[in-house]
């Protein structure tokens, strides 16, 4: 029997479906109902979770990642028992505690002591347990001098510290945590990370919902990617993290870029017209046409994602609508910061390709070692005559995402070998 208990998953989510019915028109008053008794306000169904299935072993640190609206918070609320499920069941083995928000129910007009008591009661501790843990809570939060101060007089940092302390003092076997790390100053965040490390080592099961891929890489044993309520990937946090980044860059890049541009504009900084997902300007006299262009991965397949450290290629097909002599073919790639990281042209290799007749089709190909950092890159292509006469110029024609196993923050990932040699402490030797 004990062997059975050992094998029991801490959390088992069995084919969970959850649909929200959102009324098309919000009928919030009796008056509206009485005045329009026959107006059936239609419902829009929002399928927040579709057939979600996974298990989390005891002592596992499990990450749930997904973009906004992917259903990850709904899943957490279902596991926490805040929402009921429409189909499927969730099993939990052990005491479960949920932290969707820090300091839920904190009352600004009460001092820390009362709030801790209230918060502990919400989280399921009884009076005795709460009293026993009070000192530990205040110790961790470093708020000894402020016990009787009303919370409205606390700084936001102090509030976060108090709330986080209450949270970790509830000894649950399974912790469901929703993005609590996004708050607090750097020093406290470090403390939270240390605490996560401790929780992880103490053998508790943690399910962490987050956007922070670094946290996923650092803590999670396994992770899961949700999109539109479906599981897109589950397993190795590295792989899942990369999948998430691809997803994010491909669809959200534009929205973020625009937002950043707006923020930049407000600050009065460089009035950069931020790059957008849409194709940029197209110039040219039309005597040549870039019909299509794409990137290829190491296997020579057209790809929208390229992995760092592999071979990659850019290919463009150009059709001539008129006789053209000695055109140049170019391509350039810019990252999300609008820095140009790749530029290739036939000007150095084939400066005088000769005459192209009307109706000719040309393939322009650039093979390269992909040393680009993890980011999204916009590709611009052109066919021109020397002297700057455009035949066809397609700015930001398409984009490609580069994924990487490591996040260095550098502009490019220059191929490198890293080694470490221990030299004797007493007698340093010269190592060649």
């Amino acid at each position: 029997m004990s062997a059975d208990v050992q094998q029991r998953p801490a959390v088992y989510v069995d084919g969970v479906h959850k649909t929200f019915r959102l009324p098309k028109e919000q009928v919030h008053t009796l008056k509206e109902r009485v005045l329009h008794p026959f107006r059936r306000s239609g419902f829009e169904e929002l399928r927040a979770l579709r057939d979600v299935q996974f298990d989390v072993g005891k002592g596992e640190f499990f990450g749930i990642v997904g973009r906004n609206g992917s259903g990850k918070s709904t899943l957490l609320k279902c596991m926490a028992g805040i929402y009921g499920t429409d189909e499927g069941r969730i099993y939990v083995d052990g005491r479960l505690s949920t932290f969707i928000e820090l300091g839920v129910g904190f009352n600004p007009d009460l001092p820390a002591r009362d709030n801790v008591e209230l918060n502990a009661a919400m989280l399921g501790l009884n009076t005795r347990e709460a009293r026993e843990r009070f000192d530990a809570i205040i110790d961790f939060a470093e708020l000894h001098d402020f016990i009787d101060l009303k919370l409205k007089n606390y700084s936001s940092g102090m509030l976060v510290r108090l709330a986080f302390s209450v949270m970790i003092q509830v000894d649950a076997d399974i912790l469901l945590i929703d993005e609590v790390l996004a708050v607090g100053d750097a020093a406290f965040q470090q403390k939270c990370y240390d605490e996560f490390e401790r929780i992880r080592r103490s053998g508790k099961t943690v399910l962490l919902v987050t956007h922070d891929m670094n946290a996923v890489r650092r803590f999670c044993d396994r992770a899961m990617l949700l999109e539109h309520g479906r599981m897109l990937a589950i397993g190795d946090p590295e792989t899942v993290g990369n999948r998430y980044l691809q997803l994010n860059f491909s669809e959200e890049a534009r929205a973020i870029a625009q937002e950043e541009a707006r923020a930049l504009g407000e600050r009065g900084a460089a009035p950069v017209e931020y790059m957008s997902e849409r194709e940029g300007e197209r110039f040219g006299d039309g005597r040549a046409e870039i019909v299509e262009a794409w990137c290829e991965d190491a296997e020579g397949r057209a790809a929208t994602q390229l992995e760092n450290g592999t071979r990659a290629a850019y290919v463009a097909r150009v059709k001539f609508h008129d006789d053209v002599e000695d055109p140049l073919f170019t391509v350039s790639m810019t990252n999300t910061q609008r820095q140009q990281v790749l530029s290739a042209s036939t000007v150095w290799t084939v400066p005088r390709p000769g005459l192209f007749r009307k109706g000719d089709v040309v393939e322009f190909r650039v093979d390269f070692d992909n040393i680009l950092a993890q980011d999204r890159y916009q590709v611009s292509a052109s066919v021109e005559l020397s002297g700057g006469h455009w035949l066809d110029f397609r700015e930001r024609m398409f984009s490609v995402v580069v994924t990487s196993k490591k996040v260095t923050g550098a502009l490019v990932d220059v191929p490198q070998e890293v080694s470490l040699n221990r030299l004797g402490a007493s007698a340093p030797e010269v190592v060649s």
């Binding site: 926490a80 929402y83 099993y91 939990v92 969707i100 129910g105 209230l118 990937a233």
Partner: protein, 299 residues
């Protein structure tokens, strides 16, 4: 790999005993009654603290409201309009009626707003939902307890003599608290769905203030004016609130007041307010229980 593949690969089957406790979603009561009471108590206590012990005059101010209302009603009805001067200790009855009505008003309107006021809790923490409106009623009950002290003092000063029927009064008070609780459950759920329940309930409370023997004696309808409107008196006595207040007048203040049974005419007619009372409590509880699992989504 498509989403379906991912799901299929993650699918593993377990037998029942290999699994832990199923998570059943939110409910009204939860499965741990100690947790429910502890939470209700803590919520009510902090709520009460906020209102009364926030400043030194907190309790004083909370007494002022019923006392001021008492002063006004006493001047208008008893002194100026000469109502109730032919029954014993009418000022005591007036004050008691006001205190009880204030409780009823506070418990039901706070209860009505309770779920919405604690929205962040309801949406973000799993706990027995019933604790929220129950705590509101409990907190109002605490202040009822405090406000009854001056009523008893005033009664003794006015010359009301303690009788054995005083021992029966707590049962009536419990009945009143339960009635307010049933209404609070009903109203809090309805308020989540229809926001105009609040002004509607305000109007109902106003009507109940006049349709309850508070600032007039029920005898006005039954005996005085030659018993011209006994049916109106009987109609008034169909309200459980009226029954509690009238019966307390009889048991607590002076046996000269009509008992609820006498006021309604025949004792069996008390079945009507009794049925309303029981219906509200049972209906309120089961309605809340049914709605509880979806409150977090509907808010």
């Amino acid at each position: 790999m498509s989403a379906a593949d991912v799901t299929a690969r993650a699918r593993r089957t377990y037998s029942e005993e290999e699994l832990g406790t199923p998570i059943l979603g939110p409910s009204a009561l939860g499965n741990d009654s100690r947790r429910f009471w502890h939470l209700t108590w803590t919520l009510a206590k902090t709520d009460f603290k906020l209102r009364f012990f926030d400043n030194a005059l907190g309790y004083f101010w909370s007494l002022m409201r019923p006392l001021m209302l008492f002063g006004v009603l006493y001047l208008v009805f008893s002194v100026a309009l000469d109502v109730g001067n032919d029954v014993e200790y009418f000022p005591v009855a007036l004050l008691m009626g006001i205190v009880l009505y204030s409780f009823f008003n506070e418990a039901t309107s706070q209860g009505l707003r309770s779920l919405l006021m604690r929205e962040p809790l309801v949406r973000k923490v799993e706990f027995p939902r019933l604790a929220v409106p129950t705590a509101s009623v409990l907190s109002a009950t605490f202040s009822l307890g405090l406000n009854l002290i001056p009523v008893v003092v005033f009664a003794l000063v006015a010359g009301v003599t303690p009788r054995w029927t005083w021992l029966l009064c707590p049962f009536l008070l419990v009945g009143l608290v339960l009635f307010a609780w049933g209404l609070a459950l009903l109203l809090s759920c309805l308020f989540v769905r229809a926001r105009d329940i609040e002004p509607i309930w305000d109007v109902v409370l106003q009507i109940m203030l006049y349709a309850t023997p508070i600032f007039y004696p029920i005898e006005l309808f039954v005996y005085i004016n030659g018993g011209e409107h006994p049916e109106l008196g009987r109609l008034i006595m169909c309200s459980p609130l009226a029954v509690v207040i009238q019966q307390l007048r009889d048991w607590f203040i002076d046996p000269g007041y009509l008992s609820a049974a006498e006021a309604i005419g025949l004792a069996w007619r008390l079945v009507i307010p009794g049925a309303i009372w029981a219906g509200v409590i049972v209906g309120g509880f089961f309605f809340f229980k049914r709605v509880a699992p979806r409150i977090a989504e509907d808010l």
